[in-house]
Amino acid sequence: MAGEADARVAVETVWRIESARLIAGLARMVRDVGLAEDLAQDALLAALGRWPQSGVPDNPGAWLMATAKNRAIDLMRRDATFQRKGEELAREVGIQFAMERADFEAALEDEVGDDLLGLMFICCHPLLSPAARVALTLRLLGGLSTAEIARAFLAPEQTVAQRLVRAKRTLRDAKVPFEVPSGSALRARLPSVLEVIYLVFNEGYAASSGEDWIRPALCEEALRLGRVLAELLPGEPEAHGLIALLEIQASRSSARLGPGGEPVLLLDQDRSRWDPLLIVRGRAALQRAEALPGPLGPYGLQAAIAACHAQALRAEDTDWIKIAALYDALSQLTPSAIVELNRAVALGMAFGPEAGLELIDRIAGVPALRGYHLLPSVRGDLLAKLGRGAEAGAEFRRAASLTANERERALLERRVTEVEGRRQGSCGP
């Protein structure tokens, strides 16, 4: 029994490694992602039936591909016999041709890469909702099971299963071509792919408890996909910008939670816990983005900001003037109230609290920030630095009433006592 269990694990391990390339290669042939996944699954079942006795073949990827291709040919022949539609016949001929051409082992590396890219773009197609894109990407490119995806997103398995089925049907019904968009179409579709990888990362990163293995695994999967994408699109600055941002954010993962699981603010983190290898990798990716023609995009700019923090050995060494300038560029590229809020913090650090306060007061009325606890929290901080303790206390109190996070509320209430205590207790300068 142990031998059989081992064999099963061996097959599943190979599947994890090979499934994306397998599904991608099949999708190019059959032009239907759902069908490609079914064929790949059939090949997996065949392997589970066979390998425990025969052992894992030398080139398991090629074995799975050959098995799936044979299934595809059978299926298409039957399909054509039953339906005798011109389109189907043409499709079969096309498939036969593609199959003769596409000996998996001999396939040019470029082709495998193109297939993977095609799969990434179709999984992240704008026709699909962000949640569906994320689920489909994790399923088809990450090789995660429906149960694992459900666990990662704290959603019922049934919901995720339905989401996947619907996504594949949507793509089929819309006859979305399996291809890598080129030129301006690629530039237009790339943000959707980058966003999905970023969402996967954040889902793992936002977890406050490290006990569940699936959530750190999401961060790692996002890093992996980001690296794969940057290898496949070496000329796209934002692909490098995204992976630079993720590597540097991931470098802080051991430092960003306190012993009780409470979040530790960036400036209060023990920087000796930051992972130097990931910082080096992130900076190298950022340099690749910067070396390409054109200015940095939103991910590249965020990576550059993260790199400024990573570069400072102590929080007080941070180059806030540079960070303020980067936020300025970011706010011109993707104007948002949150970016402005961050810019106000940077301005306050770089040029003194008045500069930050001036910007805060300009954006205070923005509807997107109404009820957002960080607005009064940042304002309170700037006021406290100016020695306006009473006003600062009021802001912190307001921030405390707005946050849903217990730990954050405690922190803010402590600040209320701090600033109001200082006002009463000390009359000095």
């Binding site: 694990v9 061996a10 599943e12 391990t13 190979v14 994890r16 490694i17 890469g113 490290g210 695994a217 790692e220 999967e221 890093l223 992996r224 996909l225 980001g226 690296r227 794969v228 290898e231 496949l232 051991s254 012993p259 023990d270 920087r271 000796s272 816990r273 290898l277 990798r281």
Partner: protein, 125 residues
């Protein structure tokens, strides 16, 4: 999780420098790892004869320069990879175009693997 893959080549030190063919095959393998998004770092090492050993015992610290007579298993290089399980790391190790060598796969400790008191002892701040 991260894994170190240590390469122990089964060769004498005088044959340490690999051939162009070996390097080409290894480069293809490294490229596969990179394209799969798993490769974090890798290096090949000069032979131990050019290195040194620093040992510590109750008498203090002793530095011994290579070559070392009793060296049986010597590390020729390493890969640091990200993998989802030990099995996955082992599967990747077994795809290495190796001949007459051993690859040892070891999981890297992450800070979270340590108990709280050890984590706190690691803090500098």
């Amino acid at each position: 999780m991260r894994f170190m893959m240590f390469m122990y080549p089964g060769i004498e030190e005088e044959d340490w420098t690999p051939s162009a063919d070996d390097v080409a095959a290894m480069s293809r393998y490294n490229e596969e790892l990179r394209k799969a998004g798993m490769l974090l770092a890798l290096d090949g090492l000069h032979p131990p004869a050019e290195g040194a050993r620093v040992s510590f015992d109750d008498r203090g610290t002793t530095v011994t320069d290579g070559p070392f007579a009793e060296a049986k298993e010597v590390i020729g290089g390493y890969w640091l990879i990200q993998a989802r399980s030990k099995q996955e790391a082992v599967e990747w190790a077994s795809r290495c175009p190796g001949e007459n060598c051993t690859i040892e796969v070891r999981r890297v400790f992450e800070m979270e693997d340590f108990p709280q008191d050890v984590q706190e002892a690691a803090e500098l701040g």
